[in-house]
Symmetry: C2
Subunit: 428 residues, 2 copies
């Protein structure tokens, strides 16, 4: 098949008719499919059901530190869970706080703490006038929402195949003291599935920010979430920071939301004593302690890093075929030159760049035919994709058969939108 | 026994010698007892163990609203849990948000939301200069900590047997727009066990604050936590507000922390659409959803209000004998005129006023003899009890035998401190 851009107007018009016919056929099927959110599917959730039987009506609830898992207390989490998360994040367990069911909430609260208390003796952010945050794009909408909530001016930084454009990051961060942070999903990034190269990690760890209270928000959400036999290797950011004496620069987050139960997992944050000091104080004032029973449940189920790796293999078996369906269908778009994407080796998404100016139209066409996608633009701060080209596909939730149907609709919609655009451009 | 105040100096000196001897005897026992925090005891926690078997490896996880309890979503909680908490708080389920394991965290976050976003169109609190909060005393230290964290000037309001001194509350609230809230534990108050009278509830609901963004923080922590056959009846604050057209005035909180598991219960907040609007927005930005599995667990276990009442009867059987031990020992202090207290009909504490100027000394003597009490002054903002007389006793955690031993130490310490004080005053 020729690239659509090389077709004549007559050929395009014929193609449009044929695509419209296909589209109407799909629409007539009355589909009701959803590829919008990175939700684990039922079979993935079923993988952790036995965890529920490990803490039961007959369980011993006394923890290794002498606490009763059921009672108040244990502000920073079970010692063993702090160790396990320490391994996941390559952090000293003393620098790890395990709390609640959501790493997003921890990120929100670290920023909330900085707003009112700053970092390590700096002025509270809220007293520092215009605040700015670097947002690698495309990126995770819920990250951008947090900085939107706190009225940050969000500066998009383009992603490259090795991570955020570090020339730009270094320049901006070293020049502008109003820039207080950067959102990073360093392994299998949301949505592109890109893993930061060693050089990117080292350059990130070596940043010399104009603002002493600048922090790197390192959301290691997909640290063990492989789709292939050749996992990407992410350099340890904490080790890299230590090498250059920049230990206070990074706050790292992760959770078991996509290891055990999406809504009932365990989340953790890690950072240096100085960096987490104010957050710890906030935590002390706002809670008497986390749900230690859920932490105990996780500990007995996952056990250790080997346990986690073995468990993640089971997820991979369910997820990899879903990604294959998506990637297989995308190939036909590639042949027409109407879409570009990175093949992810892990994570939860496939990021597709359709033809410039077509993303909203594709999402709208899909919706018309019963396929819900993440809103176009969602991967950009304030939902504004300047090229209107990026669409995030989330293959995890629907069964393979539904994915097949949904991707068929997606591909027809992407082609139809492209043809419409090419004809419009030719006439305009 | 005569009141100590009627004793001569000689008699006091003799008494001091005898009490010191008793104290040394107690000290020699090498006790290690704790009446410091309102933690449920092991037997209380055991009452809810079967809850753990109700959501198990074979459970159906599909909720009535079509959601999977294990997955993301369900921001405001399970519909049935919102209904149940609605009954507990006499609130419309639509006005109830069920979230997390801690009502303290919900209180913190409602205040945090008001700091940055205000209430219902008002200026963010943080932009309004000096902020003030009314603190009925003695009160709950963790309430005062939240307003301490946010730098409120805390104005103590004396408690009466029918609740906070409403003459003073009405005067202060109607005159000073910098006063933004009042902390209330309306039933079996922490620490005195006082239930607000109908008149107090009605006057609270009818407040006409100078600040449009003033709110009553109604922490109904002990709403079903009875110790006797004649429960106190608390008037519904929401109904009282509605009667006078003051629906936006109150934010109510409660939790199952002292119904099921202290560290792994479920908490809820209720308030009008306008009052919770900004909090809801904050919640939307900071989390994808609460732990719905724990909510499901609670729903299957507690079922309905009858289920809760029946379950609370079991708690009462464990708690009432503990309170009896405390009250029985206190009687001998009463006879000496060295302490006053209210007999609580529910809740978790006995609030004892020892002789003025003696609370710190009593706590210190107890500690010396191996009995840990809540720090003297903890029931006052910033830990400053102007009379140095209030001590909060928490009888729930220790076994009855330990309570007997601990109360013996407490009574000797209270008497010894009183005698020391009387002698000092006589000489001074």
């Amino acid at each position: 098949m020729n690239h659509y851009s090389s077709l004549s107007q007559t050929e395009l018009r014929e193609l449009k008719n044929s695509l419209q016919k296909s589209f109407e056929e799909q629409k007539a099927l009355g589909l009701n499919l959803n590829m919008a959110r990175g939700k684990p599917c039922k079979e993935q959730l079923d993988l952790s059901m036995e965890m529920l039987d490990l803490v039961n009506g007959k369980s011993d609830m006394m923890l290794s530190d002498g606490q009763d898992a059921r009672n108040y207390g244990g502000l920073e989490g079970l010692p063993e869970m702090r160790e396990l998360f320490g391994e996941l994040m390559d952090a000293d367990p003393c620098d790890v706080i395990v709390s609640g069911n959501s790493s997003l909430t921890l990120m929100f609260d670290v920023i909330a703490s900085a707003m009112t208390d700053g970092f390590d003796g700096s002025l509270p952010w809220i007293q520092q006038g215009t605040l700015k945050f670097l947002c690698p794009v495309p990126g995770y909408d819920r990250h951008f929402s947090i900085t939107e909530y706190y009225n940050f001016e969000m500066i998009p930084v383009p992603m490259t195949v090795s991570g955020p454009d570090m020339d730009l990051v270094e320049k901006l961060v070293s020049e502008d003291p109003q820039i207080k942070g950067i959102w990073c999903v360093p392994k299998y990034s949301n949505p592109q599935g890109i893993t930061y190269s060693d050089e990117t990690v080292r350059r990130m760890a070596s940043l010399k920010p104009a603002a002493p209270d600048f922090r790197v928000f390192w959301d290691n959400a997909y640290c063990v979430h492989e789709l292939t036999d050749q996992p990407d290797q992410l350099l340890s950011i904490f080790a890299a920071c230590k090498e250059v004496g920049n230990e206070d620069l990074v706050v790292q987050f992760t959770s078991t939301s996509k290891i055990t139960f999406a809504g009932a997992g365990v989340a953790a944050v890690a950072g240096s004593k100085k960096t987490l000091q104010n957050f710890r104080r906030r935590l002390f004032f706002k809670t008497i302690g986390p749900d230690k029973m859920n932490q105990l449940r996780h500990l007995l189920f996952l056990k250790d890093m080997d346990g986690i790796y073995q468990h993640m293999e089971k997820h991979r078996k369910l997820l990899a075929p879903r990604f294959e369906v998506v990637l297989e269908h995308l190939k036909e778009l590639g042949e027409t030159g109407t879409a570009r994407w990175v093949i992810p080796k892990g994570g939860y998404f496939v990021s597709v760049d359709v033809m410039d100016g077509c993303a909203k139209r594709v999402v709208s066409l899909c919706k018309e035919a019963g396929v819900v996608l993440t809103g176009a633009g969602a991967t950009y701060p304030l939902g504004k994709d300047p090229k209107d080209s990026n669409i995030r596909i989330a293959p995890s939730f629907p069964p393979v058969s539904e994915l097949e149907a949904a991707m068929k609709v997606f591909c027809i919609s992407a082609k139809l939108a492209a043809v419409e655009k090419l004809l419009e451009d030719a006439q305009g």
